[in-house]
Symmetry: C2
Subunit: 133 residues, 2 copies
DNA sequence: CCCAAATCTACAGTTGACGTAAAATGAATA
DNA sequence: TATTCATTTTACGTCAACTGTAGATTTGGG
């Protein structure tokens, strides 16, 4: 069982964030390296990369880092977690699903607005060309 | 022609933003009151309300206020604008359309991820209940 | 063993997006 | 017209989320 650990350099390159940010997130409790009694340089499990990606996604949802700190673990909970915990997870995930749906609706509305604007502009564009001749 | 001007109080209430925000936006050049040589209190045309709403929408798209400053005028250009301007507007609007589509895609991906997580959790929930009996 | 590259710690600085408190204004009322 | 009192204005303060950086430490390779 070779749990493929990586140093912060590889992690940041793969996740597309700076090492400063990684330290910052560690400080907020969003991620953490493996226990390091011996080595002074941090080592990370591959799961941390997943976590960073999930954090980015949740940020795009509009969650603050503090909010994220409150839910990030839900996504990486072991299947052996206590039943009460699982029930709560389901609640929260469903809440997030609602939010996502709402945001998709909003974006769709904005999208059709855009399309309306574009075709309006293109109509004007056409008229202007007509007058030129 | 009674151009129905409003004071900042009405504007903020209708737009759902604070007066501080309105002043801040004015400072960034996002909006502006009518010329006030005499009165010290700002007066706004109804169009400013539209602008504030558009700003809110663009913010939800993830644009910074600075980004927005670069495009907001495109939405409120007179139909009599020069042809070259209109062409540029169309370009930019189409660029935004691409962004919106990308974001919708991302959200959709996040959404199905969520659903997968939820059903996974519900499966575990079920199993846990089975073992309880 | 030695060196260059990577990492660590700690503290300060920045940026975006506002909040707040006190002074100034102006519309209604006495 | 004088007063009053809600609105507005202005200037300074705040908070989150980074980001810079400088000097000390660690590490892997020759």
């Amino acid at each position: 069982m070779t749990t493929q650990l990586m140093k912060i350099g590889e992690l940041t390159e793969r996740a597309g964030v700076s090492s400063r940010t990684v330290h910052y997130y560690e400080n907020l409790g969003l991620i953490s390296p493996v226990q390091r009694d011996g080595p002074k340089h941090r080592l990370y499990e591959p799961e941390v990369l997943q976590r960073l990606q999930k954090i980015a996604a949740l940020k795009k949802l509009g969650l603050s880092l503090e909010d994220i700190a409150g839910v990030i673990d839900l996504y990486f909970q072991s299947d052996a977690a206590p039943l009460s915990g699982k029930i709560k997870v389901i609640e929260i995930l469903k809440g997030q699903l609602e939010n996502v749906d709402k945001q998709i609706d909003e974006l769709s509305a904005f999208r059709s607005d855009l399309i309306k604007n574009i075709s309006h502009m293109e109509r004007l564009y056409g008229e202007a060309l007509m007058q030129k001749s």
